[in-house]
Structures are given as structure tokens and as C-alpha cells.
Symmetry: C2
Amino acid sequence: MDVSLLTSQAKDAALRLAAAPTSLKNAALMHMAEALEANIPLILRENGRDLENARQNQMSEAMLDRLALSEARIRDMADGVRQVARLADPVGEVVGGERRPNGLNIRKVRVPFGVIAIIYEARPNVTADSAALCLKSGNAVILRGGKEAFRSNNAIAGILSAAVCEAGLPEACIQMVSDTSRETANALMRANGGIDLLIPRGGAGLIRACVENATVPVIQTGTGICHIYVDESADEAMAEDIVFNAKTSRPSVCNACECLLVHRGIAESFLPRMKRRLDEKQVELRCCPSSAAILGGARAATDADYDTEFLDYILAVKVVDSVEDAISHINRHGTGHSECIVTHSLDNARLFQLTVDAAAVYVNASTRFTDGGEFGLGAEIGISTQKMHARGPMGLRELTSCKYLIDGDGHVR
Amino acid sequence: MDVSLLTSQAKDAALRLAAAPTSLKNAALMHMAEALEANIPLILRENGRDLENARQNQMSEAMLDRLALSEARIRDMADGVRQVARLADPVGEVVGGERRPNGLNIRKVRVPFGVIAIIYEARPNVTADSAALCLKSGNAVILRGGKEAFRSNNAIAGILSAAVCEAGLPEACIQMVSDTSRETANALMRANGGIDLLIPRGGAGLIRACVENATVPVIQTGTGICHIYVDESADEAMAEDIVFNAKTSRPSVCNACECLLVHRGIAESFLPRMKRRLDEKQVELRCCPSSAAILGGARAATDADYDTEFLDYILAVKVVDSVEDAISHINRHGTGHSECIVTHSLDNARLFQLTVDAAAVYVNASTRFTDGGEFGLGAEIGISTQKMHARGPMGLRELTSCKYLIDGDGHVR
């Protein structure tokens, strides 16, 4: 697979797209949504072949469910694309500037990155979602999905790029890599000059591989070992609701709580009631010696449990002696995603928000709110857990860079 | 050299520093400046040993000049540190936020990165400069200088970290790597979790090595193959002044002009006068066939000349047929640094600023203005030529990340 051909086509398309007015990009998005709906039978047929293959390869039921499309899911995909059309266009926004003392006029404006590569895993809806967000933010996208969804992804990407072309933008605004080999993925990761940004969307293994191998700029998304610290001054009923929500409302997502820290002064009264509540959902607790003693007969936590993103009905539990202990545990074991303190102490709330090193630091609210929609971004391409460029939910703005436009009248230095 | 010890000390220091009030950081900076001036004899002695070594190793006069310190240069260094103390503190700035419909209060605030590593080359003033900028922006810094300046750098860093400690901040806010081996540099580049950002400051080779080998986030700085395009509608006298300034005012810096593009319609009249002006400084022209024909007997440009950052009194010259040709040449051969059009055409100025893909795009002004001071940032740690996180001159703000602080009242989702 010749990645350089893909990237040079993408570069050319990106130049056209960077100059495209919002109305043209929106028209292309509406075309894309319609084309998805008009081609439901084709997408379902190709998805059926992927599913057949997957069953032959003994894919688990949970994974099959992620892979499977239905008419309703394709219509949801199309609605997602229409929603992106309705979001404000970040390109061209003036984010700073001034007239300098020498009369030079400087403006700092948002511009597209250029070419964004997305490497992702099983779910084929990521294809439409990523293509829409990249197009709206003025970026050409090169998509590389997982082999399980190869036929579904190809069908969707083909439909979308044809629709973009009909709308009057280059077909190469949306390109799908035509194989799923590791070599091609590695070539994308090292296509400096051809790819301006690489975003891996998927599990910890994929993200690690990108961080490890990429020489192009990467934004790490995803992994969340999120903590809730219940302070001595916490309202126990509030803490119980927040922990229950953060652990059980959707355990498979990155903003779910994986570890409960409880101040020693409140542990005797709080832990038993919290356990009763979590028992409703059969949450398995993995406890430090102090919490195990209070709860009696709970499973002991191993060291590894405090560094594990369970993504399941499992919760690590630890009793700590102070807010400082809680913060230090979080800064050692967290992944920089979302962290919460439940407290009535203003001092502890301030200290926690000041010194916990994470994308989103909550006082008295569930970690589950870390989400582009909940933060008012409209849509998100992922949640950045790194500190460079974007941190937390990434919307359209985070898919842009900026440039300085400087206007003079013969100025020399 | 145990890099993990350095990074864990830096992490601890960074946590203290992130919470330090501006007044304390400024007091530390004033201490640092005073300590540099109080230790001029020590610094000069260590610098003398570096110079002696360098002479034995036949270092060129130009390089010796970059390495050499004097009392005046050390006082300049101290003044630079004092200037950083006077700049606004970016940490804590609220850059966004709202009350969501559900009553959740969200603030997005600037925070330090944490631990920044700087790998740099010969000039020892980079030590004080980088240390001051990182400290003010709340980051612990790990410095790794070149072997030529090893003793000078160690002396300066030792003085600075002692001064920081006296001011009441952790000594490990500023750490110098105690060897200059390639292994240690590589270990820094791959210290994920320990280093939040790596900034190489130096030549193209150093930057390439960091981009190639690093798994921690890197900001590419530096390389500038800057173009000036003289449009058919240009004011020839203005174009002459701008090109002369951009090429000759300081040819060794990254914002100097390396390639002149001239519209065919103006080339016959403009090129001879431009050559006469550049002859004042003995600038060597390397010409395309058309410009060589006009100028008669000029040296022919090779393909490589259009991809070379000369950093010298050398200028590549090419005649182009249109503004589109100029843009396409620039987007192919530029390094995304600074590009200029000289024109009276509004349409061509707009097209050029819209579609040239670079950090700074000028209309009728010299590329030499791309500089933190000229842009009003007060000081800069480098000029980013990548699109992620920071583009163009990087001041204190660009040394920060952000985090979301979310305040609820028992909110669950």
C-alpha cells in the first residue's frame, strides 16, 4: 500500500478544503448523511459479510454487537453527520491579535491542521463520525479501521467520499486505507510531512502502539483510571449517589470510576452503605486492608488493581488518611482523565482542584460528565489524556491549529 | 545516569511549583538573576575551561563565539531572567467556561505542563533563559545541554537551582543532566510519564533526532526556509527593502529569507535592481534558468538549493508565472515558518494568506518579524514550526496546558 500517494492526494484535497466556505462544507455533510441513508442496503450487505467472517473467527457476542449495523444504527450515523453540519465552523475564528507599536497588524486565526489520520478499531460508526468532524474542521482525513469491519468501513467511506465529490469538494477529502496490515498502519505513523496529526481511537494497546511508533504528532485519547475521593466532610448520601452513578451507569466507558478513596474518619459509616448500594448491581469490590476490615470478607486488592482500568462492575477501594494522601494516590495511579472529590470543605476542594493532575477535576459531581456533549462541545472525536494541544473532550476547535496573519506596509526590522 | 530519579524529583517539584503564587515565583526569578551576577567569576572560570577544551578540539571561531561568556553577557542573562519576572503569569488564567443547563459550573484554566525537558546545543545562555521561562510558567525543567558547554551549563544551573531553593521553592525545579551522553538524551526522549513535554532547541539534526526517537510529546522548533514572493503588482522599492532586510539583517537566524520568488511580469525590471542592492552585502544568488537569463551569468540553482536553509549570504531565486505557482512552490518547499507576499493586489494577498501553510504569513512586511518580542509575547522559548499545541513564537502561554475544573452539587448523569 503506497501511503505517500494517499497523503499527497490528501494534501491537495486539504488545500482546497481549507479555503472552502462553511456553506459548502455543510452542503457536503448533508449530502453525506443522505448518501448513507440512500445506501442502507449496500452497507448492511457489506456489514453482513464482516459479521459472517467474525462469527467464523469466533468473535465474542459483545464484540459482534459492536460490529453489527442495523437500519436504525445507520440512520443514527447519518443524524450524527447532520449534527456536525449544525455546529459552528471553527476555521477562520480570530483568536487573538493586535496592532503593534510599529503599526504591524497581527491576527492569530484558527486554521485546519491539513491531513489527519485516524486509526481505529471495531466499530464502523467511527468511520462516518470521524469523517464528518474532520471535514467540518477543514481537514482531509485518512481512515484506517480494524480488519473486522473492513468491508463495512470501505462501503461507508466510499459512499461518503462520493457524496463529498458530488457536493463539489475533492473526493480525497475522505480516504480509506485499502488494507489493514500493520505495515501500512506503521507507515501512516511515520508519514512526516504527509500527515499533520494522528489520532488513535481505541483500546490501550492501539494507543500505546501509536505513541511508541509514531514520529508524526499524536494525540493520545482514552484510557481512564478515574478516582472518587470521599472526604471526611462529605455528605454521605451525595457521595453514595455520585459513586453509584460513576461506577454503574456505564462501566465500559473511559469516564467511569475505577477506584474509590475514602477518608479514614468517614470510612466506618460510609463504606458499608456504599457496599449495600453497589450490591444492587453486583459490583465486585477489591479492598485495601483497612476497607476489607470494615467490610468484612471483601476481596483483597492487589497492587495491580490500583493501576487497572476495569471497564466492568469492579471497583478498587482504599482508605486514606487525608486529602493529601488521596491526591498523592491519584497523581501516582491516575491516567490524567477525570478525578472527583466529594466534600463540604472549601479548603479541600481548592487543594484537590489545584493539585490533582488530570484533564477534568470535579467537586461534588460524577466523573461521567467528561464528555463533549456534556461540556457543550456538540460532538467529540475523543478525550485527550495528554497535556499538549488538547486536554479533555476534543471537539471541532481541537481539530484546528492556528496561524499568524501579519499585514504591513513595507515594514522592515 | 538514572533519568527516572531526575524525573521523579522533577515531578515532585512540579507539584509544589504548580501551586506556587506568582509572587513567590517572581521572587525566585529575582534571586536567580542576582545569583548569576554574584557568581560571575565562577561562571567565567568554568566557561574558560569549556573554551580551552573547545580550542583543543579545533572548534571554529564562530562556534567559539557562541560558547564564550563575558561579564556583559552574564549580566544580559540576568536581565533576561528579570524580564521574565515582569511578564504576566499565565497559570490560572480562565480561558473558557460556562454554567451548563444542568447547573454544573465548568471552568477551563491554564495549568503548567508539569515537567519540561529541554535538549539544546552550544550556547550556555539557553540554560538561564529556559530555566526562567519554565519556572515562571510553573514547570519543573530538566536541562540537557551540549558537551561543549558542559562546565558552563553546570555552573549556571547549579547557581540557579540554589537560588530557587533559597527563595523557598524546591531545588529540583531546575535540574541539569549530569552527563551529555547520547544514551541519556535518548532516555529523556522516551521518559513517558516522567516528562510532559520535550523541546529541542538547536539545529535541524538535533530536532530530527528528537522527532525520530521521542515517545514523549515534542514541540518542533526552528528550521526556516522562508520565501518572499514579489507579485506582479508589487511596489518595487518596497519589495527591494523587504527582501534586503529579510535576507541580510541577520542571515543566521530561522526567520531570514532563503528564497525569492518573482512574478514573470515584473522580473525583468525587478531582478536587476534587487541584485544591485544585494551586491552591497555580497549576497550570492542561485538562479532558475529564467532569472539567470535576466541577470546574465548568475550561478544556476540546483534542485537542492530550493530545499536548503542557507543561514548565510546566499539566496535562491525563481521566476514564477502566477501567485498560485508561488503558493504551490512555497507549500512544497517551505518549512512552515514564515512566508511573505509583496503585492498591491487585495485578491492575491487574501489568497496567499488563506492557502500558504505556515506559522506566519506576511503581506508587505519582512519575515524577520517572526519573533516572540516582535509579536508582543515578551520572551520566547522558540518558534514552533509544527501545527500541534503551538505554532509560531512560543511564549509563556505556550508552555502551559489547561484543565477543566467542574463544580457540582451532587450532580449525576
